[in-house]
Amino acid sequence: MSTANHAGAGFHHAHHFDSAEHQYESSKQGIWLFLVTEILMFGGLFVGYSIYHSLYPQIFHAGSKQLSVTLGALNTVVLLFSSFTMALGINYVQRGLRNKAIIALAVTIACAGIFMVVKYFEYTHKFHVGTVPGKYAYEEELSPSGEKVTRVGALLAEASKLSVEEREHKLHLDETEYEHLTLLNNTKNWPLFFGFYFVMSGIHGLHVLAGAFLIFWVLLKVIRNKVGPEYYTPVEGVGLFWHVVDLIWIYLFPLLYLVG
């Protein structure tokens, strides 16, 4: 591929490189190294996750049941598709198909948007039922026995006084979720799972936002004809970043949603 990147008429390489080719290869190496650091950073989270998962499998079992596999799977598909459109976008830029490239990149950004909207619904639902991380999962007041009550516990206590229909209606709790929450609340220290869930998916979400922003930046470059068949390093670099964000999600999805 790289041979296509020879110095064309318009493109000027920086003074400390021999040629545009030389500059391209150096940039690419830099981008790969940066991606290694991203993977290592998430690696730290994965290590923490595995340690606690092996220590307290019950917590992770009960916690993951509480996540919506449907929404998680939907987001997985969306991200996979966006990786595909990103790859197309790079290819179009390399071949000088400006309009197609603009569409492909715009679709990629839209996918990032869909991903974040789905995340928004997932997060707000968790706030609603009280499956939030660590200390925020506990109610302020202590129960008569002196043990701390979780917000989920409080919700369940309220629900247990209601009929099945009323739960659906008033508390937006269907029967399966009621059961899952009961299981969860009977597991000691379950908020730890949501600590991992929010931190891991949160940091990943920030990467999705950063990626969308970067894709928008290269989209502007495409529109202004700053990149094309002669010079497409930024597009390719951002594309690689996007694939890594996608890849990390591919690991997060089974770890968080499917371990139950």
Partner: protein, 527 residues
């Protein structure tokens, strides 16, 4: 050398041209100014900490203030001085020249790294005025996460950003070394300084992200209360230590490898002999970098980790001694029958070898699980790491400063001033830290505001030594000012160095080389 000669210093004018420069040499100088300011601040804290320990009980400050000063001293010295020190200042200045390149691979990123260091330092430093932090530089949980104030968050955020700066510098150096070597400059012909910086860069890129996530988790712990480090919520505070040392042990080699690179250059130049065992020195840098990832558990022998882990970490830790000794013996073999010139940079190199050896050998004590139970968290540890970090890295930094000063500025650093500075630093250093080995052995714990009256004399000796060190650095600084104002013209190669930077004018021209050099031999060919 004519004054109107065109070089990187007069290529462009005005403060703005410096703040926006993409020239690696100017960026190196900007790092010098920034890091030396941090060093001054950290040094003042050090002197105050030592002053407080002049007598048992309260000498000058309350225990609270003492804890904060100790924390800022450690955090500033580690994250803002010794870790970035040699690579950011001298690496930036000499690495591209040494491999025959016109600049680093990503000049814009290089400038950005400098700004990230400044921003990180500003955020960390701002806590001095808003929220004082008293956790110690290691930010151990649960104290940092549950007990102490919210000031830990900006403090740690600043360190996170500084870490980013370190990653970007490392990344830049790796690509530069891979891609920008002059024709004929094979990997087995690059100067040993470059090998050292290259190994350091690998560590920076591979270890720092783990620090980043650790600090983010600490922030998450404090803001969201996620509970990963909180036993009350099911977490484990010791996990923080594992994560922290997985970075911070390799980080001690981020501090020391560049220093070893400097010493290799100094030994070669001032012995006027081909360096003995070039390949062994080069690859031992990589070996040290590799092994350093596997030994973090030696900081946690008494944390309740399994006995098996203790034994394993102890064994692997001692392995680090092998590549380190290889370097030391090769330097000595180089000096053997060489025509050694004891100019001040060489004195600093010899000081490095002396102090670093003491530091390294006491490391072996600490790495023995049984002995560490006696020494852990005592002044013995404090003495150990000061011998390696200060005695090692700062000695090399001073040597590097005087050695490359003429190249950077075109002026000679006065050798007599250099020697006086060395005498103060070297003797002051031993007066300060040697008694701490004894104190540690007698059982004085580290990080304490108060001590038993029996420890008084040794503590006073130590405090007195700190004044000698302080004087030594002031003399060194005076030498810089004096050389800038009154220094003699240096010429191209005042010390008879053989690496590429000595083949171009001092100060170097804007693009380093008028004609790209072509290499036909190794870096240190004295015959």
């Amino acid at each position: 050398m004519a004054h109107d000669q065109h070089n990187y210093l007069n290529h462009q004018k005005g403060i703005w041209s410096w703040l926006t420069t993409l020239d690696h040499k100017r960026i190196g100088i900007m790092y010098f100014i920034a890091i030396m300011s941090f060093f001054f601040l950290g040094g003042v804290f050090a002197l105050l900490v030592r002053a407080e320990l002049f007598t048992p009980g309260k000498t000058l400050f309350s225990a609270d203030v003492y804890n904060r000063m100790m924390t800022y001293h450690g955090a500033i010295m580690v994250f803002m001085v010794i870790v970035p020190g040699i690579p950011a200042i001298f690496g930036n200045f000499v690495l591209p020249i040494m491999i025959g390149a016109k600049d680093v691979a990503f000049p814009r990123l290089n400038l950005m790294s400098w700004y990230m260091l400044m921003i990180g330092a500003a955020i960390t430093g701002s806590t001095l005025f808003m929220q004082n932090v008293d956790t110690g530089w290691t930010f151990y949980t649960p104290y940092s996460s549950i007990k102490t104030g919210m000031g830990v968050i900006p403090m740690v955020l600043g360190v996170f950003i500084i870490g980013f700066s370190s990653i970007l510098t490392g990344l830049n150096f790796i690509v530069t070394t891979h891609k920008l070597r002059a024709p004929g400059m094979t990997m087995t012909r690059i100067p040993l300084m470059v090998w050292a910086l290259y190994s350091t860069a690998i560590l920076q890129v591979l270890a720092t992200p783990v620090l980043a996530i650790t600090l983010l988790l600490l922030i998450a712990e404090k803001t969201l209360g996620v509970g990963i480090f909180d036993p009350q919520l099911g977490g484990d505070p010791v996990l923080f230590q594992h994560f922290f040392w997985f970075y911070s042990h390799p980080a001690v080699y981020i501090m020391i490898l560049p220093a070893m690179g400097v010493v290799s250059e100094l030994v070669a130049t001032f012995s006027r002999k081909t360096i003995f065992g070039y390949t062994a020195i080069a690859y031992s840098s990589l070996a040290i970098a590799g092994v350093s990832f596997l030994v973090w558990g030696h900081h946690m022998f008494v944390s309740g980790q399994s006995e098996f882990a203790g034994v394993l970490f102890s064994f692997i830790t001692m392995l680090v001694g092998v590549p380190t000794a290889i370097k030391l013996f090769n330097w000595i073999a180089t000096m053997y029958k060489g025509s050694i010139r004891l100019d001040s940079p060489m004195l600093f190199a010899i000081g490095f070898m002396f102090l670093f050896t003491i530091g390294g050998l006491t490391g072996v004590y600490l790495a023995s699980t049984g002995i560490d139970i006696h020494f852990h968290d005592t002044y013995f540890v404090v003495a150990h790491f000061h011998y390696v970090m200060v005695g090692g890295t700062l000695m090399a930094l001073m040597g590097a400063l005087i050695y490359w000063f003429p190249k950077v500025t075109g002026k000679l650093y006065n050798d007599t001033i250099g020697r006086i500075s060395w005498v103060f630093i070297f003797s002051g250093f031993n007066v300060t830290f040697f008694p701490q080995f004894i104190l540690g052995n007698m059982g004085m714990p580290r990080r304490y505001y108060d001590y038993l009256p029996t420890f008084t004399e040794l503590n006073q000796m130590s405090t007195f030594g700190s004044w000698l060190i302080g004087t030594g650095f002031l003399v060194g600084f005076f030498g810089v000012i004096f050389a800038l104002l009154k220094g003699k013209e240096a010429g191209m190669n005042p010390f008879g160095g053989k690496t590429l930077e000595w083949t171009i004018p001092s100060p170097p021209p804007h693009e380093n080389f008028d004609k790209t050099p072509v290499l036909t031999g190794g870096p240190y060919e004295y015959r």
